[in-house]
Homo-oligomer: 293 residues x 2
Amino acid sequence: MAEPTFGDRLAAAVARTGPICAGIDPSPALLAAWGLPDDAGGLRSFAATCVDAFAGVAPVVKPQVAFFERHGAAGLAVLEHLVADARSAGLLVIADAKRGDVDSTVAAYADAWLGPTSPLAADAVTAVAYLGVGALDPLFALARQTGRGVIVVARSSNPEGRPLQEALLRAPMSAGAAGDQSVEDGLLAALAEMNRVELAGRPESTVGSVGAVVGATLDPSGFPLERLRGPVLAPGVGAQGGTPERVAALFGGCPAGTVVPNVSRSVLAAGPSVAALREAAVATREQLAAALG
Amino acid sequence: MAEPTFGDRLAAAVARTGPICAGIDPSPALLAAWGLPDDAGGLRSFAATCVDAFAGVAPVVKPQVAFFERHGAAGLAVLEHLVADARSAGLLVIADAKRGDVDSTVAAYADAWLGPTSPLAADAVTAVAYLGVGALDPLFALARQTGRGVIVVARSSNPEGRPLQEALLRAPMSAGAAGDQSVEDGLLAALAEMNRVELAGRPESTVGSVGAVVGATLDPSGFPLERLRGPVLAPGVGAQGGTPERVAALFGGCPAGTVVPNVSRSVLAAGPSVAALREAAVATREQLAAALG
């Protein structure tokens, strides 16, 4: 039997622990609020505190790569340790890198974030498809090979993203997408088609390697999300706009454990006490579980 | 008098040296072809050779960040040294990172690539606007403040990018863009509007801080590129599809020194000899100068 897909692993972890993706965002503002210096040492303390707090109470953490990259190579060294420590503590790790390019460059990003021997290798990485979803193929291929995942931004929750993401395709985005669609729906259809093909070849799996970011503050689009059959990373659940009614309309048909709300600032504001962070994560997780029904 | 903009600095460097952006792409294939190990030591040799070869014969180099990130923190440490060494050698540096996100995350990417004290700070960074051009504002703001640049992918030369980039906007992408436009033209109009506002406030400048990636293998779109008034990074000039006729049609009206063709593999194939790389860069630069008229 094949190794489980990233989607299977995520769904199993959510079934065990509950629906929350805990962001690890050592922004300058949060470092200051936690009384930590804005340097690699501060990042290291912040990261260690988050791993201690979230192990056992969240199924998955999402370090925001930009806040580590901000400190150059020294920051990336902290991220390497964070990824290893979090995985050792039983947490899944989604590297929020939003990478995207073409050809051998995408293959290099795949090596960096999903390669079996890379010091940065996470369980999944976020990606952006402005240069075409097909251009991300080396990421999808390595994810399938290594039991890891790629989560592509489809419908972001920020208002500036709406014009581009709602633009109408004049040509299909992939063999699996029809022409009369928005960019975001064409992208979701292309991702769903990849999961369909992957899952057709492995009947023991129920959730594929390819996921999408879909903001919970939006109204449903034309693409029924239950057809994705991959993980959905959902910012905004429980926050302004992400009401229980809207969440039910957006994600109601999705299989259990495939929709993982992302929460960062509202939980991290409880730090730097490990106990207070843990308590905030558990309380938020229970609210999210209720919102997702 | 204000410091020159990145666009002014780039145009001046092109006027002195000629129109070429030399890519620094230490891919696994090129490391092997140069007889270098696929590790941080190999990257270091590759980078040092490129700086030696391109100093004085190219105005600007473009390290592809993915090939450094592939080696984690150790790779990023090599990139830090490369950026410093290239700038010391009089080269401008465009970090080809294609970053993009929202809010404090974009501000962190701005700090990383354009911040005055960052170990990775280049002269400009490439960005991607899937989450909206307005979401990139912290990058644009820091670029203007520090005399650096942001180059946003608008029209990529790969075929997978066409459906998304040609999709039709249903709502304007920014205050400066009309509704009846493709994504790529709406984006170009938004970038042009930023340069217009910047340049209106500094009459001593002629080229703004905000640039675009526009593939030279494409037919012209509805947006007249001479209205951008910012740097154009153009892959594909002289390569297949980027014929002199097409180049003239695409870039003919752009001010001198604002269109910088990017060349990577065809020059790097001449390595690892510094003399051979230098010769290839000069020969390509002269072909490009002829193609750009």
